[in-house]
């Protein structure tokens, strides 16, 4: 009997390749912020329902990651950072990634709607649509402000978490949205300043190459200055409190200080110390976001045991 094995064996997709399509690292941010959004919301959620909700929000985020890799396969083949993804490596075909992303999008939205409420399911569907159609297909390749638009997609999960509990939107959930939304540009552009990525070859407009590094530094500062008062003001909403307020004041003071340092440097100075200030600002931005959401979580915990202040 002859074997019809014309498939290249070393390129066959393994289970891990499908996991890689879901962008697990992005998913961890989605899980964390959606969890905080759900826990700080006023209406209690059954623990198992909450767990399932976070799971399907994460799956929806993963599905949009797979759809993003389907659409951006041409870019991913060119850029060194993304060449080892499953589609450029030829382990998963583009059609298969598209089908995988669409099916998981459907499952996650329907399951979230059934497990919690219709509004949350629709909100998740909108988030996937926003990330895949508005960001990936439309604006990513059209404007150097693409990071800002992509940031909006990444900022929806805490709002969905809130919607799982309350079935709607409120000032608090919009505040959490703005926190992630306005944090993304300084976070990403500080990375773009020291990571000489090959976006130019892939023809993706990045602020550093379309408007230059001087403008990028200015943009980091402007977004940080807009972010700071909003981050602190969140402390005066029902999800805030003295602990959050103290955290926000310290974190934002440091963040503004770092942004001013980035703004006042020239490229020559940055080259001289190998972008030490930019790198420090980027790593601090991760701590910044984590600290804010951890403080919100702590405030929810305090008010749960009767120590909430407002």
């Amino acid at each position: 009997m002859t074997d019809i094995s014309y498939v290249q064996h070393d390129k066959e997709a393994r289970f891990g390749d499908y996991i890689a399509l879901l962008k697990p690292r992005v998913m961890s941010l989605v899980v964390f912020t959606a969890f905080v959004g759900l826990v700080v919301a006023p209406d209690p959620v059954h623990p198992f329902v909450g767990f399932v909700a976070i799971l399907f929000i994460a799956l929806g985020g993963g599905a949009s990651g797979a759809l993003n890799m389907w659409y951006d396969a041409d870019i991913d083949r060119i850029m060194r950072r993304t060449q080892s993804r499953p589609i450029p490596e030829g382990r998963i075909s583009e059609r298969e990634a598209l089908a995988f992303g669409l099916v998981l999008s459907g499952i996650s939205c329907v399951m979230l709607a059934l497990a919690t409420n219709i509004f949350s399911g629709l909100f998740l569907a909108f988030t996937i649509f926003f990330y895949v159609v508005i960001y990936t297909m439309w604006l990513k390749r059209a404007t150097p402000q693409n990071i800002v638009i992509g940031g909006a997609a990444g900022a929806f999960p805490p709002m969905i978490g809130w919607a799982v509990s309350t079935g709607g939107i409120s000032v608090e959930s919009v505040a959490m949205f703005l926190l992630v939304f306005l944090w993304t540009p300084p976070h990403f552009w500080s990375l773009a300043l020291f990571m000489k990525a090959d976006y130019d070859e892939a023809k993706v407009p990045m602020l550093t190459s379309t408007h230059g590094r001087r403008v990028t530094r200015k943009n980091v500062l402007v977004y940080t200055l807009v972010l700071a008062p909003l981050a602190v003001a969140t402390g005066f909403t029902s999800i805030g409190g003295p602990l959050y307020l103290a955290t926000a004041i310290v974190m934002n003071a440091l963040f503004i200080k770092g942004a001013i340092a980035i703004y006042s440097r020239t490229e020559v100075q940055a080259e001289a110390d190998k972008y030490a200030v930019e790198k420090r600002f980027f790593y601090f931005s991760l701590i910044y976001l984590f600290a804010h959401f951890a403080a919100l979580l702590a405030e929810a915990g305090l008010s749960h045991i009767g120590l909430g202040v407002w």
Partner: protein
Amino acid sequence: MAITRDSDLHIRRFSRNAGLGLVLLAFVGIVFGLTIAKVERGDKMEAYDHQPRTSVLPPAPADPAKEGTAQ
């Protein structure tokens, strides 16, 4: 030793199939868990089933005029 030799394809795809099997089992577990959680919370379990039933009809609006004559 097994009587039949496993097909090469089956050996290569074992990790993928095992992974998918576990995912499907987990999905069954989730749906079952959700059922338990919703029953515990006392959610409405009946829905429209192509036949009108009094248990799922909205309560009739109180008619003060009728209430008066009935007594």
